[in-house]
């Protein structure tokens, strides 16, 4: 799906044109202070078709999906959904900046983990993510930091060392296959 405001509307189930730029989304955003482009500005970029800037900013990768912006929007624009959509479009269009990389790798590792096990194997997740992320971005501290916590976690019984697996893993595999059949986003 090429970037267009209709594409964003569809992905986010919303009407971006409804936004009248009051800024309430940005005012309430818990990470707004760290964003290079504010949520209301992102919506404006989508409105005016400037997707390159919208996809290439750090802000969309800082979003914590807390839904505060959508919940308070006086025009019921699903702002959090717009950021979700921008992230999807960025991946699809290969607009991957440093901020994006870690998150994308994490999410891919996460989904692969689910695809294999049906449920999350946290130890595997941490391990694979840290090593993969390190290969792509040297600023990610390798295993060390969390491994400081790991012994404590194990003593507290907070990890299944082996992790759990669902019985019908074949079905999980087929579900993934069907969902990815029409492209990485699940649709044409």
């Amino acid at each position: 799906m090429r970037p267009s405001s209709e594409a964003v509307d569809m992905l986010a189930h919303t009407h971006v044109t409804d936004c009248y730029q009051c800024g309430k989304c940005s005012a309430g955003c818990p990470v707004g202070e760290r964003m290079d482009v504010l949520p209301n500005q992102l919506v404006r970029l989508v409105q005016s078709g400037n997707f390159r800037r919208a996809m290439d900013c750090e802000a969309i990768w800082l979003c914590v999906s807390c839904q505060t912006c959508s919940a308070r929007c006086p025009k019921s624009v699903n702002c959090a959904g717009v950021l979700d959509a921008l992230r999807q479009l960025a991946v699809e269009n290969n607009v991957i900046n440093a901020a994006a990389r870690r998150t994308i790798v994490f999410q891919q590792v996460f989904l692969n983990n689910i695809r294999r096990n049906g449920r999350l194997n946290e130890l595997e997740l941490v391990g694979v993510f840290k090593s993969k992320a390190f290969l792509k971005d040297a600023s990610v501290p390798l295993l060390f930091k969390d491994s400081l916590l790991a012994p404590k976690m194990i003593t507290r019984g907070k990890f299944h060392l082996m992790g759990e697996k669902v019985k019908d893993r074949a079905l999980v595999g087929r579900i993934f296959e069907r969902c990815f059949a029409e492209g990485p986003r699940g649709h044409k």
């Binding site: 009248y20 009051c22 940005s26 005012a27 309430g28 202070e33 504010l38 025009k75």
Partner: protein, 663 residues
Amino acid sequence: MRIGVFTCWCGENIARHVDCQKVAEAIRNLLGVHCSVDYKYMCSDPGQSMIREQIRNGKLTGLVVAACSPHMHLKTFRKAAEAEGLNPYMVEMANVREHCAWVHHDREAATAKAIDIIRMAVAKVQQNRPLAAIRVPVTKRAMVIGGGVAGIQAALDIADAGFEVVLVERDPSIGGKMAGLSETFPTLDCSQCILTPRMVDVGQHPRIKLHTYSEVEAVNGYVGNFKVTVRKKARYVDITKCNGCGDCWNKCPQKKNLSEFDFGMGKRTAIYVPFPQAVPARPVIDREACTMLLKGKCGICAKKCTRGAINFEDQDQLITEDVGAIVAATGYKLCDIGKDEGRYKGYGEYGFGRYADVIDGLQFERIVSASGPTGGEIKRPSDGKTPKSVVFICCVGSRDDAKGCGYCSKICCMYVAKHTMLYKHKVHDGQAHVFYMDIRAGGKNYEEFVRRAIEQDGAEYHRGRVSRITEHNGQLIVRGVDTLVGEAMTIEADLVVLATAMRPADGVESLAQKLNIGYDEYGFLSESHPKLRPVETNTAGVLVCGACQAPKDIPESVAQASAAAAKVMMLFARDELTREPEVAEVNEQTCAACFSCVRGCPYKAIDEADITDRQGRLIKRTARVNPGLCMGCGTCVAICPSKSVDLAGFTEQQVYAMVESLV
């Protein structure tokens, strides 16, 4: 019947595509047609003279003019007929210009169609019956509902023109919202100074009958002849005996009731006068607060009253007023954003109702007003401290489809600017911040006024909305954004004032139903035409003005009130009204009294009626049309299963004759 048919050439307009002579020829042989002539310009003086001559000489009893659209000249030809003593409703037009000559260029086909059109008209006119215009007497007395600035203006205008006015006000005093305002934009003149003399004028006017603490219970009748039932709520004070000395309210022990006039910012007693300049300056007992009425204990006011005006046995009274016109001026209220109410969702994120120092615009008016609970000193509600930093937030509830209303409340931009100025004039070291989305200052001297607030009085304007207000150690933390800078911002404030949305006053929908007038999805009363009939409604004789129709400021409300008053005077300038006689009538012999028509009539013009014999015994029931209310749409005709209703001018006979002429 002796029908004359007059086919007009309209110069070349009709004659170019329709062979008018051939048409006249063809029509001449129709049954009932006495004469059929064609002429170049029927509407011209010679044309009309010819028609009149034919009526005279040919003793015509019906007339068909085949020319342009009836919307163009039907009235012209009806007048001409009337001048010759022929009933105007015996005249019909056949539209052979707009519906034929102008749209068909095949001369043969157009001529054939023109003949068909005229045949239909001839068939109809054969079934026409003379009709007499309906005359209804006019009661030259008006009712104004609502005693705010709009109602006051309308009442005074009508009364000064020499007509009696009944003014009905729900609250104990007239004055409305304006009586509680501090100073008014863009001149900063004192609201009470300009309004209270007008209130006194109303109170003393020989032709204004004032019903305060009263509400409209029911409305019957029609233009010129309304019967309005008014509920006068029990006041527990006989205002004819009371002289307003104040002994009662000064001694009342129930002092902790929130004052409605101060929007809860001040307190009042259980027996009270809403504010010192009230009209009438007579108290009322709040039955929810008076311990005598609640528990039968106290009665101090009665003991103190030297004139015996207190009456705890007082009851609501229903009175009926006959009036010829009604002006609705019920005004507005501010959206209560603290709680959910139907489509309006509470603004939990602003903490209104939770934090004492988050107030609305009208509450701020009382805080800055010299007559207010703080005597005009700006003190915040929680601890009485003078706020050094005040944040004003625009568009709270307005322009907010998700939680409030989609429309712009129109007056807030101006009064927020005014608030910042009043604040700065009183707290010189204070700082006012405004969060706005757009500044809408269209009006004489309005834009200049807003600029003054910013340039001279130093209000800080930030373009953006506020997302959340929290409280920390008595400070309000306002989290907003300045979208022009592109930065979220946090302001620590001592007081936050929300410019909340203007909504129609409570109960306006039920009043609209009683008056049989429309209202929009928000409850604002509907005018008849947004541009050309801005104070009329779809019910003749009912007018609207002020903020009950849409958000408005004072000058607009007053202008509209005078406009409504002028419409009332127009109505009262004549002794009787004439109405088109094309109204429905029930055949009471065949009516089966199923009353579907009563349900369906858009004007509530059909009543259920009893037919009785001389001894008063019920013979049968029937539907009956009130010709004063009927507007002639004919919906009842189509609804009636036994075809016992018919519509004059478009009777079943007439319409069937037209269709049948098409064979």
